[in-house]
Symmetry: C2
Subunit: 276 residues, 2 copies
Amino acid sequence: MGIAFLKGHGTQNDFVLLPDPDGSLELTAERVQALCDRRRGLGADGVLRVMRTAALEPGTAADDSEWFMDYRNADGSIAEMCGNGVRVFARYLLDAGLVNTAEFVVGSRAGGRPVTVHADRSVTVAMGPGAVTGESTASVAGVTYAGLAVDVGNPHLVSVTDTDIAGLDLSRQPDFDQQVFPHGVNLEFVNRIDDGALRMRVHERGVGETRSCGTGTVAAAVADLRLAGESAGKRTVHVPGGMVTVTVDEGETTLTGPAVILAGGELDSAWWDSPA
Amino acid sequence: MGIAFLKGHGTQNDFVLLPDPDGSLELTAERVQALCDRRRGLGADGVLRVMRTAALEPGTAADDSEWFMDYRNADGSIAEMCGNGVRVFARYLLDAGLVNTAEFVVGSRAGGRPVTVHADRSVTVAMGPGAVTGESTASVAGVTYAGLAVDVGNPHLVSVTDTDIAGLDLSRQPDFDQQVFPHGVNLEFVNRIDDGALRMRVHERGVGETRSCGTGTVAAAVADLRLAGESAGKRTVHVPGGMVTVTVDEGETTLTGPAVILAGGELDSAWWDSPA
């Protein structure tokens, strides 16, 4: 045994955490792929390496926060931010005693993210601005849904519809306007289920349907408020993996949701050296 | 943190091991389901509880081996045996010092299984007799494949074919003769790729296509030998998750394959009490 790890999830978006304060692990794409493989590895949507910002290589985008979330997608590629991952990351820092206040900033390639860890271990993350940028449509199985384009750092198209989203077949890529979204788009389909409460399913760009998408829930709240003629407010969003709360204000949004760390231990050194 | 676990796999059939010598864990179906959930748990095809045979409740089928493999399927149900799981189980016992010889017997609900842990940590398991019981057919996408029915404690239908099995669509249940297999059947599709070497894909009863099936590889070897007019011999079997070797003799078969234990640690006690 040898390499420390933890396993956690936020609304069933799941992660392997690798505590590596000094950045001494050689975290190759192959190792990330093996770690995230759901049969031969631990299995996860991504890896969150826990590094001191001071240990980053010069030139890595980062703010002056003490701890940096080095996020990797399951395919080994680097990603800037992950709204569900940063909650799990924040909870780990506080539980492990690596920070000693419940409010702090997590560094990421998208800049510092202010977080608050609550008494029940849910976490609020400042997600930056969310802006409606236009209108477009998405089509599922030949049926077209009107939607609002929303920019939350990444592109979304949110379709609030009266059609029951439980019946949508999201196993295939829905059609969207490639002129509007030349680099692809995350597609959210939303039902209003109650005053201020939404139910959402999401087809993530390059991934497919997932049980949760942090920026997608923010986009859904921004779009639903716009449709109600409001620019600020609060929405609870039910996704297949759980429930989160989003607040929207001029120039800032927050995402509050669960952060679960269910296990921790060590990876076998021989496996780490040559994943079987 | 609190409940000890390990994670391992045999040809990518993967397991959570729970060391519980005295049987003190309350291993409910709900806990097994949560452990095996690939998003909110550790994720696995099944759970292997490591118990002293002496700690079993009276009436549990077991032989007089010291250690008992209490196997649970991912849905929480009890299973008798697992040809890939028992290799991982055996490796754990030896690595953990719970046995002190490389040859020993693992108890299971299907009786004791003699095992040998080799220097490279691969494991040979005596799988009991494998017998051809008749002929039948399976159909995939309208194409019918002749096969041999093989009993390896559980029912199999092995179709050795010249059609490249790489092109078969096993995402749906293939058709089979319900009169011959009233309780369902595991379906193996096999290409001969070399002298004594087979490539196999498997559709497991009640599960769907998997990356490996221990008894299925034994059935494939038994069927291929029969088709060659032999009742004893050896076959290597390549499955999507790796490679195993099967020997067949009168009244006895053995399965040799890899056993990987990649991580170990503790499950959070609060999560164990109430999996989130």
